[in-house]
Symmetry: C2
Subunit: 361 residues, 2 copies
């Protein structure tokens, strides 16, 4: 019978169940060794800087983990990679479902790797915790790119708030850059708040559209068109070409009406077909022109600095709110005060002051 | 010589300065009586509900005061007026300097009082603490309206942040409504964040423009056009009429390209002249149509409820930030961490976490 010594692993036997003194020392040691093999932060940083994809993937998994130990390790890795990051162009691509984002990114990505670019494709999709990774979740939709050794595809981190997904994506960008990827594509779906988050982490923002009947801008969330550095009308092939050209005209007219951008860049409208590949090289030309111009003017670096500041403050502000709104007594009192405000018994400001007094007491 | 009894008022004499035992009892009592005459909250509420303009003005002064005692009293008054508020239409009017906002509001206000409306004109201008009340500060710019007994004009509360000015304006709206004003006009200058604040406190948002050469939309802050329920091209008189009509065409085309509004309202573009008064009644017709439609659909009440919720949360969030960023140790550490982020020694997220740990410790 085994002694009553504390069980530290289910690999060891349970008391009360008869078994030999030692089940299988060799097997236990083998498993223990494998467990021990979890690479250290330093090993992962080294691997990433050497361009090792397994190290990169493992580190991203740590970033995505909700385990606090993993979070600490992920922090070390991100901070260790920072000095080697930033040498890339970051391109955001958005568009409502149905515009052909995956197919476009597949073709555009292949075009870039043929130019010897190293391309990482990431996604921001806070809804993916519900839809189980609707964006990039099905890697088979990019079956050519996924096999390309100069491309790295990672689905959206899931099971989280937009703030959480955004943080994870931002940190993943840093690791990808440290691993030598020079072109980072961030995909997002054009419905919701996620475009604003993506806009705040990329250098260039591309809005993908298709031509449709009537109002060309239906279905785009307010403000997204104003964010775009380029609008590309996809599926401009076959019978669609004429409609696509008309849409191009209409978008050009609309963009002309917007106030000038801080970058001094005039957004470009073009058509393309992911099937015939027409217009793909023009898009890269537009993006290259943008980078040349903003590098020369200093706007490129300026914007990255601003984005860093933005995320620093944004993280703080989100945490402050999260701490407040998760206090049990605040949750209760907020419900009551909301009702009092709706019934005109209390002004919104008086209601807020009461809650703040409760929180800071 | 006076005794060393504690001096409680400068109306009493100072020790060391010879003077009669009592300076002037009659004078002191007279001044003390005047001081005592400050009306109570209940008296002010009663006055406001009777439509007494002096009570209204005094209560607004309490709202604008930075004295904590006044703030408590103001809170009582606002909460006492709440049940009698809300019976009005709230119209926001914005436009860059030079479009003729004051003249337009004067003419539009006179038009409304002629229809037996009771019109209150308020302003949101957080810059007024610097410019000493640029908006509505000079009441002589509305010399007809200011004399109108059915109009009440109040310049922007000054010396404060946008959040502060917004709160004071929101509370002033409540008092004006309780005093029987049925049409509230909120003026703001079309440069900065203040339009978003005003948009969140009005039912109808009017963008005032003039026709110019070339790009009609230059100088409007991003997003403002999307907020507008109506765009009015002012100064459409004399030689300007043709240009104004062209501008109207261009704006109509631009508005048509925006996604549909939640209110299901299609923004209207029109021209007007504050000099010839052409187009003024059409603007009121548009606004009336809007109110009829949104009242019927329920959107009107829905939006007001949402705005109340917005201001409840907004006040809380602003206070949480203000408390955090004003801690002396946070101010110091934030400076250091910002530098570390700019030098790529720390990720924005790690920098934020460090600060949050410091705050919540």
């Amino acid at each position: 019978m085994p002694t009553s010594k504390k069980q530290s692993s289910s690999l060891q036997e349970k008391p009360g169940i008869s078994s030999p003194e030692i089940t299988n020392i060799a097997a236990i040691n083998q498993i223990k060794n494998k467990r021990r093999k979890q690479p250290s932060s330093q090993e992962l940083i080294k691997g990433i800087l050497e361009g090792n994809r397994t190290s990169l993937s493992r580190a991203i998994t740590l970033i995505e983990s909700t385990n606090p130990e993993h979070a600490a390790k992920a922090n070390e890795i991100v901070n260790g990679c920072l000095a080697h990051a930033n040498k890339s162009v970051r391109i955001g691509i958005t568009g409502v479902p149905g515009v052909g984002k995956s197919t476009f990114i597949e073709v555009f990505g292949k075009f870039l790797t043929a130019l010897n670019k190293k391309v990482a494709v990431l996604a921001v999709d806070p809804s993916s915790s519900l839809s189980h990774g609707s964006i990039l979740g099905d890697k088979t939709r990019m079956e050519e790119l996924v096999k390309d050794e100069n491309a790295f595809i990672r689905p959206s981190a899931s099971g989280d708030t937009l703030g959480g997904v955004a943080r994870k994506t931002r940190e993943t960008i840093i690791l990808c850059e440290a691993a030598g990827f020079d072109t980072i594509i961030i995909e997002t779906v054009g419905v919701g708040q996620s475009e604003t988050a993506v806009h705040s982490m990329v250098d260039f923002f591309l809005l993908l559209k298709i031509s449709g009947a009537g109002d060309e801008l239906q279905g785009i969330k307010r403000g997204i068109m104003e964010m775009a550095d380029a609008i590309v009308i996809n599926k401009a092939d076959g019978d669609n070409i004429k409609k696509a050209n008309l849409a191009k005209l209409e978008f050009n007219r609309a963009l002309h009406l917007f106030p000038a951008k801080k970058s001094a860049w005039t957004p470009k409208v073009s058509t393309c077909s992911a099937i015939t590949k027409d217009g793909i090289s023009d898009i890269w030309k537009t993006i290259s022109d943008y980078f040349e111009m903003t590098n020369e003017s200093g706007f490129f670096q300026e914007k990255r600095k601003e984005q860093n500041q933005f995320w620093l403050m944004e993280t703080i502000n989100e945490q402050l709110k999260s701490n407040f709104y998760n206090q049990p007594e605040i949750i209760l009192q907020l419900e009551e005060n909301k009702k009092a405000v709706q019934n005109d018994e209390m002004s919104p400001f008086a209601a807020a002051q009461e809650l703040l007094k409760l929180y800071f007491k």
